[in-house]
């Protein structure tokens, strides 16, 4: 995203969404989710063995404010794939159970495929006031 505004945090969030093929905004970290809804969403992604980046929204309440303003979605977690909001915990779990989540992630139906690779470097993390972690289950 080359467009810049007077809002560096919102810009950083938009950049993170654009730069990470699979990005989860959550409470806590994949290792230590701080909320049951975030934990379930992480578990669904991990069971598909897909690589994903995660951002903990808890360290600064403004992250959640700006994210929700940007995504027009009030709750956490929020899963983005290829820059698009896929949904929160309920939708992700529904899609996981129906097999749609694997499809959306570009995985084979039998789970043997691989999602589009996430770049090894993290350009968004370096410049942004966000902690982004790439996770391989």
């Amino acid at each position: 995203m080359s467009e810049t505004t007077e809002n560096p945090l919102r810009d950083a969030i938009a950049t993170a969404i654009a730069d990470n093929d699979v990005l989860l905004f959550m409470k806590g970290t994949p290792e230590q989710p701080a909320c049951g809804f975030s934990a379930r969403t992480v578990a669904a992604l991990q069971s598909l063995e897909t690589e994903f980046a995660a951002i903990d929204i808890l360290p600064d309440p403004r992250i959640r404010q700006e994210l929700s303003a940007l995504s027009n979605w009030p709750t956490i977690p929020q899963l983005f794939v290829a820059g698009e909001l896929v949904g929160g915990c309920d939708i992700v779990m529904e899609m996981y159970e129906s097999g749609e989540l694997a499809q959306t992630l570009g995985l084979d139906a039998d789970g043997g495929g691989s999602a589009a690779p996430i770049a090894d470097d993290e350009p968004a993390a370096a410049a942004a006031p966000l902690q982004i972690e790439n996770r391989l289950s």
């Binding site: 809804f37 979605w73 009030p74 709750t75 956490i76 949904g87 309920d90 939708i91 899609m95």
Partner: protein
């Protein structure tokens, strides 16, 4: 503090023709199954947004800690 009945009322009056079953054990965490014609032809994200829009900014995550949704068309 909203009750399950109030959340149900909010959803059913906000989305014409919607039927909602709302459950809550503590009046803080809610779970709703909503059936509405208005959901046909739109994505799940848009379906959930129709419901989220019935609540004031900050209400979800505030007085209503969690509102788990299952949306369906008739």
């Amino acid at each position: 503090m909203p009750t399950a009945a109030e959340v149900q009322q909010r959803i059913e009056s906000g989305i014409p023709g919607a039927r909602a079953e709302v459950q809550s054990a503590d009046d803080v965490h809610f779970s709703a199954r909503v059936v509405a014609d208005a959901f046909s032809g739109i994505s799940r994200v848009q379906q959930h947004r129709l419901i989220y829009d019935l609540f004031a900014p900050g209400e979800l995550g505030g007085a209503i800690h969690a509102l788990s949704l299952k949306t369906e068309t008739p």
